[in-house]
């Protein structure tokens, strides 16, 4: 292991932290505006998980565009792949049958059981206060037995809410065995934000603080969260990236800093 980095930024920490979740056995799809997870997949491949498979834009199997050129859903990212996965027959077949088991999502609202909403803000779906873009693949992935990795660049009480206004993507629903009772396997595993890392308490399925990023306190995280987090007595600091990881990310994987696009609207400066 190389030396720890001392000058990393939050976007970089998020990428590295997410990358470390994945192993050689993982096959990762990505959707739109997903610079952080895509950077994480590419980084994991370059470091501890050389056999990890990234299906670029859910199309290009084992693609290798060299670096993040632009838009994560664009064919530019399919370069040097071994296969173009036809979406309906192949991609959705592999997802639906759970041959592909993992997915990363984010959203405008995330609640204490890992339910996610990117459709509307407000209680009337048909006359919303804010019309958001829509659920895209989240509603699919969360109901089709995926292990879900949630990322968010806006850890604040507007995003982390007690209950989502609209239940687009089912996490653990009302907690406990509610998800399993519906026949849904897996569910949210980890939440990586601009402040901390969280997981889910195994019995209640409530979101739980796991580690705080350098310079952030557990109290700050709680203050920026719209519900009571399960918080252990001793909260660790999120492990720092290595110099090697940071170099790879800055120089090889995302030299155009596309990942920073995701911090538009975030209080966190990157």
């Amino acid at each position: 292991m190389s030396k720890l980095s001392e000058d990393y930024t939050i976007d970089e920490l998020m990428v590295v932290t997410l990358a470390r979740q994945f192993t050689d056995a993982d096959i990762m799809l990505n959707g739109t505006v997903s610079y952080i997870p895509v950077s994480a997949f590419m980084l994991a491949r370059e470091t501890h998980a050389p056999k990890l498979t990234w299906v670029a834009g859910a199309v290009g199997v084992d693609a290798d565009p060299g670096y993040i050129v632009g838009n994560t859903l664009d064919p530019t990212m399919w370069k040097d792949c071994v296969m173009y996965l036809p979406q309906i027959s192949d991609m959705w077949g592999y997802v639906h049958s759970n041959t592909l088991e993992t997915f990363c999502i984010r959203g405008a609202q995330i609640d204490k059981y890992g339910n996610v909403n990117n459709s509307v803000i407000g209680k009337d779906y048909h006359r919303p206060k804010v019309r958001l873009p829509g659920s895209a693949g989240m509603g699919d992935m969360c109901s089709l037995h995926k292990k879900i990795y949630i990322w968010s660049t806006t850890h604040n009480p507007r995003t982390f809410v007690d209950k989502v206004d609209f239940l687009a993507a089912p996490g653990y629903l009302d907690g406990g065995d509610a998800r399993a009772k519906l026949g849904l396997r897996n569910g949210p595993e980890v939440v990586v934000t601009d402040l901390c890392v969280m997981d889910f308490e195994p019995t209640s399925k409530r979101m739980r603080l796991k580690s705080v990023h350098r310079g952030v306190s557990a109290k700050q995280v709680q203050d920026e969260t719209g519900f009571e987090l399960v918080t252990p007595d001793h909260v660790l600091e999120t492990p720092a990236p290595s110099v090697e990881e940071i170099e790879l990310l800055r120089k090889k994987i995302d030299p155009k800093n596309m990942r920073k696009i995701e911090f538009r609207g975030s209080k966190t400066k990157v």
Binding site: G70, N71, D74, H96, G134, C142, S143, G183
Partner: protein
């Protein structure tokens, strides 16, 4: 009903004449990719009204149509400008109660189209079990029991749009349409096959003999195509893989100007209504400068 084996080459204006007010129109395209935007501009010029837009991802073209007052309802899984942010006309129209958004999970929407392709009244998915999305449209998605195992599945009612509009790489005069490579994305795959009429713009018209040299690239046979419209850069400012990239400059301009209703209308006036022809439009967005800007990463 199969389309005939006749010369179907026509202008965009002629082709758009096939669309009637109130039609359900399947519009190919992702946020910034492979969308028939020359046809979309023509629909706006022809002042079509009360259209139902059926898409997977609604992008810039849908936002233009909404801003121009052509659309009463959207069926889609997401509407935005991809990395360029919100589709503001869409957002404002829904928030004002002027536009209905019928949201689906991606696999529900694809399954509705697939059932349409087969002429089946419905097909099945499990996507959306546990999500409130399935409750939004009881007339088109319904949880039923498997007659063999008792497991819950979602019946998705067939969607058969009146017209499909799409942009492809090339076609012959009778409408054998080729893609490089063959359709990968779900919309290109099922939208035309599920629709009653199909209008295709293509970068170029080639001979049928040329088509016969690479039959593995043909995605639509002539008997499923009603109009062939040659339009160079027909997807601009979206991309046509692997031929050209999306035009970041025009996308950013629209994203910025569409923040206000006035800016949106000014953009439409300048870039959609004012150019008389596709050549005018291409000159306006930069001509050869534009060509250099969108040069493919793949070439």
């Amino acid at each position: 009903m199969a389309a005939g084996k006749e010369n179907k080459v026509m202008s965009a204006a002629q082709a758009v004449g096939m669309i009637r007010d109130g039609d359900t129109v399947a519009i190919q395209g992702m946020g910034t990719q492979m969308s028939p935007l020359a046809l979309v501009r023509e629909i706006i010029k022809a002042r079509k009204r009360n259209l139902i837009a059926a898409m997977i991802v609604g992008g810039i073209g849908l936002d233009w149509l909404i801003a121009a007052g052509c659309v009463k309802k959207v069926m889609a899984i997401i509407v935005n400008l991809d990395e360029f942010g919100m589709a503001n006309a869409f957002r404002r129209a829904v928030e004002a109660g002027e536009l209905m958004m019928e949201e689906y999970t991606e696999h529900q929407m694809l399954t509705r189209f697939s059932a349409g392709c087969y002429g089946l009244p419905f097909m099945t998915t499990q996507s959306g079990i546990g999500s409130a999305i399935v409750d939004l449209h009881p007339d088109t998605t319904k949880v039923i029991d498997c007659p063999f195992t008792g497991q819950k599945v979602i019946a998705c009612r067939a969607l058969t749009p009146d017209v499909c509009i799409l942009h492809a790489h090339r076609a012959d005069e009778v409408g054998n349409v080729q893609f490089f490579p063959k359709p990968i994305w779900g919309d290109v795959d099922v939208f035309p096959r599920a629709s009653k009429k199909v209008i295709v713009t293509v970068e170029e018209i080639v001979s049928t003999d040329e088509i016969r040299r690479t039959p593995e690239r043909t995605g639509l046979p002539y008997f499923k195509v009603d109009a062939v419209v040659p339009v160079k850069y027909g997807a601009h400012p979206c991309s046509l893989f692997p031929r050209y990239n999306f035009d970041r400059q025009v996308m950013e301009r629209y994203a910025a100007e569409s923040r206000t209703p006035e800016g949106t209308q000014a953009f439409l006036e300048k870039y959609v209504r004012a150019p008389r022809t596709q050549e005018d439009y291409l000159d306006l967005v930069g001509g050869s400068t534009m060509e250099a800007r969108i040069q493919s990463f793949w070439s």
